[in-house]
């Protein structure tokens, strides 16, 4: 029966090509708008590290001075070097890492030095964030402590500088003039969003060169990204151990999300000690953000993207309403045909089923057309110069979603006309 209805649908769609084309175009436009914005949203709102995102936590302490203090306000966005190093030493969580972005002139052999983005990090950074190694190893906590002159390269830099991951191992690079040995090379890695540091763009690539934090400090590498200082005394060096400035991201990995309250209490105790010792001017005020919470707090998905998504959904709704109108018109033209089918014994249910199958066919074709259009739409997004242009692609879940959206839209658009068709009485139509 289904095959027969499919055949009928094919014939009927062919009989009114203009109307069919209009309906399909309307549906396809709605689907395309919806899928394009939904894909952008899906990519931007993605969980960058799904296996762990619920038990990786970002630490915030309220270390600022009293200026502008409001009880119950928000703690600093980043931590100071003194706090970071203390928490790291106390090692209260199974894993913890302190990190910041920086830059350095990097030289291979006698080549022209080249400005390179650097990430300062402590040893646990790599296992915590599942950074994949292609060759060699990352540095150890002991090397951290000793400010060892070792670095880890990212895949494109290893390829560019030494022709591959294996060749890069044990090579020496001059970083701001100081020799440092390559001990490891990462496999291609692009967590999206760039969750562990969102201070300068949430969709950028990770740095090209990773340097132990202590090494970076000893070599006086320049930091970048945001920093804020407080107090009345002029600050000449933000990175100094006791500078009243927050500029570091501090992350912990707990055994499970259930350990978060205990860790928060630990941070409270730490803050209270610092407050009593006179280091923190403000009373304890701490925050622990899981990965997704931290991304939401930083509004990593631009508000414009939310607006576009809302507009596209509303547009799809209007498109569905319109194609209801168009299909109603078509149904009426076919009253005679329906009358004949009814007179020959088709029940109302049969007629309804026939028209729903026709809608299904429309949905299928609309989906294909819509995907083609959204492919064009996404090409437009990528051609734009937003900072997320590079990472927006259509993936398998989105293809499935497109099919789902199309079918639901087409079926919704088909119900009213099909009901109307099922309501045609046999006698009246045959008489005329």
């Amino acid at each position: 029966m289904f095959a027969y209805y499919l055949n009928l649908a094919r014939r009927s769609l062919r009989r009114a090509p203009g109307l069919t084309a209009w309906t399909l175009l309307t549906l396809a436009l709605g689907i395309a708008a919806c899928m394009t914005t939904l894909t952008v949203y899906h990519v931007l709102a993605a969980d960058p590290i799904p296996a762990k995102s619920a038990r990786l936590f970002y630490v915030r302490l309220d270390a600022s001075g009293l200026e502008g203090y409001v009880p119950g306000g928000k703690p600093n966005l980043q931590v100071t070097r003194r706090d970071g190093e203390t928490l790291l030493r106390e090692a209260h969580a199974p894993r913890q890492a302190m990190t910041a972005s920086g830059g350095a002139m990097v030289q291979r052999g006698q080549d022209q030095p080249r400005h390179t983005e650097v990430r300062f990090a402590t040893a646990d950074f790599f296992p915590m964030f599942d950074a994949p190694l292609a060759a060699g190893r990352t540095w150890s906590a002991a090397e951290d402590a000793a400010a060892a002159r070792v670095v880890v390269l990212d895949a494109p830099s290893a390829e560019r500088l030494f022709g591959g991951a294996a060749q890069a191992l044990s090579q020496v690079l001059r970083v701001e003039g100081q020799p440092m040995r390559v001990v490891g090379v990462l496999a291609p890695w692009r967590p999206t969003p760039h969750f562990f540091d969102v201070t300068s763009g949430a969709f950028r690539e990770p740095a090209a060169l990773f340097v132990p934090f202590a090494t970076a400090m000893q070599a006086k590498l320049a930091r970048s990204g945001s920093a804020s200082c407080w107090g009345d005394a002029p600050v000449s060096d933000v990175t100094a151990l006791d500078a009243p400035c927050d500029w570091l991201q501090y992350w912990v990995e707990l055994k499970s999300a259930d350990d978060a309250p205990a860790y928060t209490q630990y941070l409270q105790r730490y803050s209270a000690q610092q407050h009593e010792a006179g280091r923190f001017a403000r009373p304890p005020n701490v925050r622990l953000h899981s990965v997704m919470d931290w991304l939401a707090t930083n509004r990593v998905v631009p508000p414009d993207v939310h607006l576009q998504l809302g507009l596209a959904l509303a547009f799809l709704l209007v498109c569905v309403l319109c194609s209801v109108g168009l299909q109603l018109a078509k149904t009426l033209r076919r009253s005679n045909e329906i009358g004949v089918r009814r007179a020959l014994g088709a029940t109302r249910r049969d007629v309804f089923a026939q028209f729903m199958v026709e809608s299904l066919v429309m949905g299928g074709v609309g989906c294909v057309l819509g995907l083609l259009l959204s492919w064009a739409g996404l090409a437009l997004v990528r051609a734009g110069q937003t900072d997320y242009a590079q990472v927006v692609t259509l993936d398998a879940p989105m293809l499935l979603a497109a099919m789902g959206v199309s079918l639901v839209a087409a079926l919704l658009a088909g119900v009213l006309p099909a009901l109307r068709a099922a309501g045609v009485s046999p006698a009246l139509q045959i008489k005329s």
């Binding site: 001075g65 109603l328 005329s432």
Partner: protein, 408 residues
């Protein structure tokens, strides 16, 4: 008016389809009003005057590649003399940040005699411009009180950041907004201010301007006579718009020749930087306009479809009316009136929807409330759209011959 009754009677028999059109129009009106408003907001930012001489200031960024920091100060001075002497350049200066630039430098500024920082007291945060002599002339700032910095009131940024502890800017010029905020009851000139840990900086002048443009703007600003080195600042050249290309080429060539161990960026007018900074606004304005166009097209399409459906369905009725003496114009008017009633009802419902949508936008995205003129505008657009869409089906209805209708 006598046509009202039959129209209403007919509509009552097609409640489903009538409701469909009303919903369609209402939804469309609600979105169109808000999308137009959102597009208008973006356009307004793009068209708003910034107070900066956008078309006459050329920005040039130079990065130190290999030149040691010790000689950069002298190079900067030599560059400025060279640039000012170029034909077509009326004034030249170097500043730490430029409007529509990648970075902003904000710091809190307080009157010197105000009590030390207190909990709960929020001190004014101002943009901090550090610039060489000639900045006021280059940026076309108007002194409203006091004077420009003198030649002796000047310090190098390097000396301030890495020099003797306690080094402090010798003077400050406030913009009118900051002067008003700090000294509401008298002149700011002659007073002293505190910023960035430096105390008792005398205020020598007040200028009109220096308002930070763009999203999250900071209207207050302070100008300090602190000369940055070229590696941490941007050269600013005041030119005549017609000479833009010639000056840009000459400036790049002169800077390359003066010190080869550095990279010279492409000069840009402030206006060009503004265009780049407002790219997202432009894209979103286009998106909103596109959404409005697509919505109207789709809605028109739906109206044409349903109107055609009704014309076809009522062929018999039209025939009878024609046979009983209705003219073609009567029949056409009948469908036009029906459409006006439906789109009118839809538009009214849509206005309520537009208000509701505006409230949602306001609470979630901090969009300002929908100004009322958008409501009649949206309604009018949809009424006109409805009339335009129904024209062809109505003409077709008017063309139905009395006899054919009766025969079928």
């Amino acid at each position: 008016m006598s046509q009202f009754t039959p129209v209403l009677t007919a509509l009552r028999r097609h409640r489903g389809a009538a409701l469909l059109i009303v919903c369609n129009v209402a939804l469309c009106a609600a979105i169109v009003c808000n999308a137009l408003h959102l597009a208008g907001l973006r356009l307004a930012t793009m068209l708003a005057p910034s107070g900066w001489p956008e078309d006459t200031v050329l920005v040039l960024n130079v990065r130190a590649e290999d030149e040691p920091a010790q000689t950069q100060g002298a190079t900067t001075q030599r560059d400025l003399t060279l640039l000012a002497a170029l034909p077509g350049v009326r004034a030249a200066a170097i500043g730490n940040v430029v409007p529509w630039g990648d970075s902003k430098f904000r710091s809190s500024v307080t009157a010197n005699d105000s009590p030390p920082t207190q909990p709960g007291v929020i001190t004014p945060v101002a943009m901090q411009y550090r610039a060489s002599a000639g900045f006021i002339e280059t940026m076309d700032l108007r002194l409203v009180a006091g004077r420009d910095f003198t030649a002796t009131e000047r310090i190098r940024q390097r000396d301030l950041d890495y020099g003797e502890p306690g080094a402090s800017p010798p003077a400050a010029i406030l913009n009118a907004e900051l002067a008003r905020a700090l000294f509401p009851h008298g002149s700011a000139v002659g007073q002293t201010v505190r910023t960035d840990g430096a105390h008792a900086i005398p205020v020598v002048g007040v200028v009109d301007g220096l308002r930070d443009p763009g999203p999250d703007p900071t209207p207050m600003a302070v100008l300090l006579p602190v000369t940055p080195d070229y590696g941490s600042g941007s050269y600013l050249l005041r030119i005549a718009p017609a000479q833009r290309e010639a000056v840009a080429q000459a400036a790049v060539a002169a800077l390359r020749a003066a010190e080869p161990r550095r990279s010279v960026g492409t000069p840009q007018l402030l206006a060009e930087r503004r265009r780049e900074a407002e790219r997202d606004d432009r894209v979103m304005a286009a998106v909103f306009a596109g959404v409005v166009a697509a919505l109207l097209a789709v809605t028109a399409c739906g109206i044409v479809g349903l109107a055609s459906f009704w014309v076809q369905q009522r062929t018999r009725m039209i025939g009878i009316r024609r046979a009983l003496g209705a003219t073609q114009a009567d029949v056409r008017r009948y469908f036009q009136l029906e459409n006006a009633l439906l789109t009118g009802a839809g538009a009214l419902l849509g206005l309520a929807g537009a208000q509701a949508l505006s409230l949602v936008l306001k609470s979630h995205w901090e969009v300002p409330a929908l100004p009322w003129p958008y409501l009649p505008l949206g309604a009018l657009v949809l009424m006109l759209l409805g009339q335009a869409a129904v024209l062809a089906p109505a003409r077709r209805a008017a063309g139905v011959a009395p006899m054919t209708a009766l025969r079928s």
